[in-house]
């Protein structure tokens, strides 16, 4: 190929943009030149890769990178202090009423709070919070509920520290108790309250139904 006079046409042949006479010349040449056929075969796949970039999203703004690096640096600086605080938090949680403890090789922080019923409902239950690698696992277990006719549905919510309402999920299956669980973003300190509502229309994402049970999210593990 290196000595072939038609070699330089192969790039444009693959990308398009050759003059018609050049295209015909390449056609004729390829019939006789195995080396150029092989070369063309290897180049032919490259536009598919270029197409990936053509469809690719814009780059991430630089400020995001700066923020992540700064956060990592802050965490590194606070690691020693954090380790001591972590032990203190575990001790405090044990004294304060931890209902579950994972006997795993690397136990995750876990706490649970009681859910108190709201009139006229007579249900009760627990909400548990477990730190996980991909967020915080929240699980609501509620007893004493009546099944709801469709499209009504029970829906669990979290109230965030910055005054937003986040849906955890819905359930209409009551087998002795109702369970709703999900992994949410952030840590305990990102949330203030947890509750279950009876939504009049489960297909409507808005929070419109009455509260069935509610509880406060603890401040620390």
């Amino acid at each position: 190929v290196s000595d072939c006079p038609h070699r330089d046409l192969l790039g444009a042949r693959v990308l398009g943009g050759l003059e018609p006479e050049d295209d015909l010349a390449v056609d004729d040449h390829l019939e006789a030149c195995a080396a150029c056929r092989l070369e063309l075969d290897e180049l032919t796949r490259l536009p598919d890769l270029l197409a990936l970039v053509a469809d690719a999203p814009p780059p991430v703004p630089a400020r995001v990178r700066d923020g992540v690096v700064a956060a990592a640096a802050r965490r590194r600086a606070g690691r020693r202090l954090g380790a001591v605080a972590g032990i203190a938090a575990v001790v405090a949680a044990l004294i304060g009423g931890v209902v579950g403890w994972q006997l795993a090789p690397e136990p995750m922080p876990r706490v649970a709070v009681p859910l108190e019923h709201e009139e006229p409902f007579e249900a009760s239950g627990w909400a548990s919070f477990v730190a996980e690698p991909d967020g915080m696992r929240v699980r609501l277990q509620v007893e004493g509920l009546e099944p709801l006719p469709a499209p009504e549905a029970y829906e669990a919510w979290l109230y965030t520290d910055d005054h937003r309402i986040v849906s955890i999920g819905q359930s209409d299956e009551i087998d002795g108790e109702l369970v709703v669980e999900a992994t949410v973003d952030g840590d305990l300190d990102a949330y203030r309250g947890v509750w279950l509502t009876a939504e009049p229309d489960g297909r409507n994402p808005a929070h419109e139904g009455p509260t069935v049970v509610s509880g406060s999210v603890p401040d620390a593990w």
Partner: protein, 170 residues
Amino acid sequence: MARAARGDAEAVVALYDVYAGPIYGFGLQRLGDPQLAEDLVQAVMTRVWRFAGRYQPDRGSVRTWVFAIARTAAVDLYRRRPRATPYEHVPEQAEVVDELDRLLRAEAVRAALDRLGAEHREVLRLAYFRGLSQREIAERLSLPLGTVKSRTYYALKSFRLACDELGVDA
């Protein structure tokens, strides 16, 4: 990963440079909002280095682990969008992995293009991304047509080499 878990800035940046782009693109597509896409990158990367010490290689690759975190974080952020929109499809993990793999590959191809010299990048940009003919490129760059043809060929060859070096299969 162990270095990232210790908060080593270089390790954190290395993970960021590989995964932030695809995650941002995933966020733009799934959440439809640049600010939420930025929040997604921040949330995922923060969790990655915060929990890097708990990553277990025998349970899957770093890529799979990061993608699982991205999926959960995206669903969380999706829930936080204005509540006026109805529930939509929550992606399965396999679907997320496919999407992020494609974006990861696109990011590697972009890196391969960045390795090219300016002249090669320019001729590929005009020929492929702008769709100009060889003659139009020659006029645009004030170069002989033969030079443009030759440059286009060598630009593609260099691109293929850069892709090979970065492990991007054609």
